[in-house]
């Protein structure tokens, strides 16, 4: 379509008397998958072809959601963040995250945040945006407890989160949040894993990974997700670490400094970092390596731990 000086603002008429932003928005409709509608004298029927991102995700509900293409650049920000993986069994949900440090002297940026006693998030993208969202989520969960005396259902938080993201895509003065979240929870015994993205779309997953080099993690999870249902919590953590190991870059390895795990169960939550990760990492080593990429292995771990196999 045309690229000219009258198409940037929605309040600007083109010389032909057209609102080009509106016409561009109409293009967005053509990109969505099909919806048909018809009626008789007594009833109306709508039919929709649902799209799914891949075989691990739910099919996107069509009869209420509008896809937005305006936020692709914000979604790039998520891809720049380091990897976060999430997976669930029939009883618990696990998040794993690869923490980055600016240089050898700095700490590793935390990527897993606790929202409530039954909910945790893993973030990829602009950390500041993520902290703002986490603060809002915590406030919502606490307010729900205050009014209703019970834990907030995850589906409610995630739905409101989607609306919050969407609002930024339809206002001129605001930018989308440059962060993707994996929301892990156990709602009265039922585990759940959701992914949010800057567009405002929400997906529910059995298992997924986001961030840089997350495709390696996704490949591992796609291969093994059918066995997760019956796994116990320790094995679930091992799966998360293996998926995370597939996301490290060539000269990097998964260590207790840069790895982190959050386990959400019906009895509460545990965040494993640093020394708490060691037993799992040792088990990973014994199996034969924490990284599936080729390249030089740099020994960044403490003296007692052995280098990961490449």
């Amino acid at each position: 379509m045309f690229r000219n000086q009258y198409d940037t603002d929605v309040t600007v008429w083109s010389p032909e008397g057209r609102l080009l932003q509106v016409e561009y928005a109409m293009e967005s409709v053509k990109q969505g998958s099909a919806v048909v509608g018809l009626r008789s004298s007594k009833s109306t029927v709508l039919g929709a072809l649902k799209r799914s991102v891949n075989e691990l995700s739910s099919h996107q509900k069509k009869l209420m959601v509008i896809d937005s293409h305006k936020v692709e650049y914000a979604m790039e920000s998520v891809k720049q963040g380091s990897a976060v993986v999430g997976l669930r069994s029939s009883k618990s949900t696990v998040l794993g995250a690869l923490k980055r440090s600016v240089n050898e002297l700095s700490s590793h940026q935390k990527k897993l945040m606790v929202i409530d006693s039954h909910m945790a998030i893993g973030i990829a993208g602009l950390t500041a945006d993520a902290r703002s969202i986490a603060k809002w989520m915590r406030s919502e969960c606490l307010n729900h407890k205050y009014v209703y005396g019970t834990q907030m259902p995850t589906s409610k938080v995630v739905k409101d989160l989607a609306d919050k993201h969407q609002r930024t895509t339809q206002t001129y003065v605001r930018r989308p949040y440059g962060v993707g979240l994996l929301v892990a929870s156990v709602d009265r015994g039922v585990p759940a894993l959701f992914q949010t993205c800057p567009s405002g779309n929400i997906y529910e997953f059995y298992a997924t990974a986001i961030g840089a080099r997350s495709q390696g993690g996704k490949t591992y999870l796609e291969k093994h997700y059918e066995s997760f249902g019956t796994e116990d919590d320790d094995n679930l953590i091992m799966h998360a670490l293996r998926a995370l190991g597939a996301c490290v870059s060539g000269d990097q390895e998964l260590t207790e400094e840069n790895g982190s795990i959050a386990l959400v169960t019906s009895n509460g939550m545990q965040v494993l970092e640093g020394a708490n990760l060691r037993p799992y990492l040792e088990r990973l080593e014994a199996e034969g390596g924490g990284s599936t990429t080729e390249g030089d292995a740099t020994n960044e771990t403490k003296d007692e731990a052995e280098p990961m196999e490449e």
Binding site: Y146, V147, Y148, G149, T150, P153, S155, K156, K159, R188
Partner: protein, 159 residues
């Protein structure tokens, strides 16, 4: 399900408000329902907030069944926004007559038939002993199948 007592103005206004808000929650959340304890806390919170502004003069018993947890719950609330989960409850003058019957006959693991018999016992007691007893009682039940009316009482005009 709520059983309420008080002046009709507050009773109707309050119950309509609660019913609409519970329905709104369901509409806003893809059909997710509030559990019995969540509803009870919401009702109590509404009473508490209004207490120092313009109180609702309603006493109520809130009962429900949660299909997911397979549990029944009963909550006693009064116009001062106090709330307590109870195994049995009575509001109004009837408490003078019926609480002792419940104290005696209620036990853990009653069946629905046994429970209804105890309620009928209470109604009989009121009709025997309570000076200004009303002739008609509606009996309703809530369980995994939902809410339904067991007995609608008799219209005095028909008797």
């Amino acid at each position: 399900m709520m059983g309420m007592s008080g002046p009709n103005s507050d009773l109707v206004n309050f119950s309509d408000f609660i019913r609409a808000n519970v329905k709104l929650y369901e509409l806003m959340n893809n059909g997710a329902t509030l559990t019995t304890d969540a509803q009870a806390n919401f009702v109590r919170g509404t009473l508490a907030t209004a207490l120092r502004k313009g109180p609702y003069q309603v006493n109520l018993l809130l009962g429900g069944f949660d299909v997911a947890d397979k549990k029944a719950g009963l909550y006693y609330m009064d116009y001062m926004a106090s709330m307590h989960p109870v195994n049995f409850g009575v509001q109004g003058y009837a408490s003078n007559f019926c609480l002792s019957i419940f104290d005696r006959d209620w036990k853990e693991g009653l069946t629905q038939e046994e429970g209804v018999k105890i309620v009928e016992k209470c109604i009989n007691e009121l009709q025997t002993r309570f000076l200004v007893a009303q002739p008609n009682f509606i009996i309703k039940v809530v369980d995994e199948k939902g809410v339904r009316t067991l007995s609608f009482g008799e219209d005095p005009a028909d008797v």
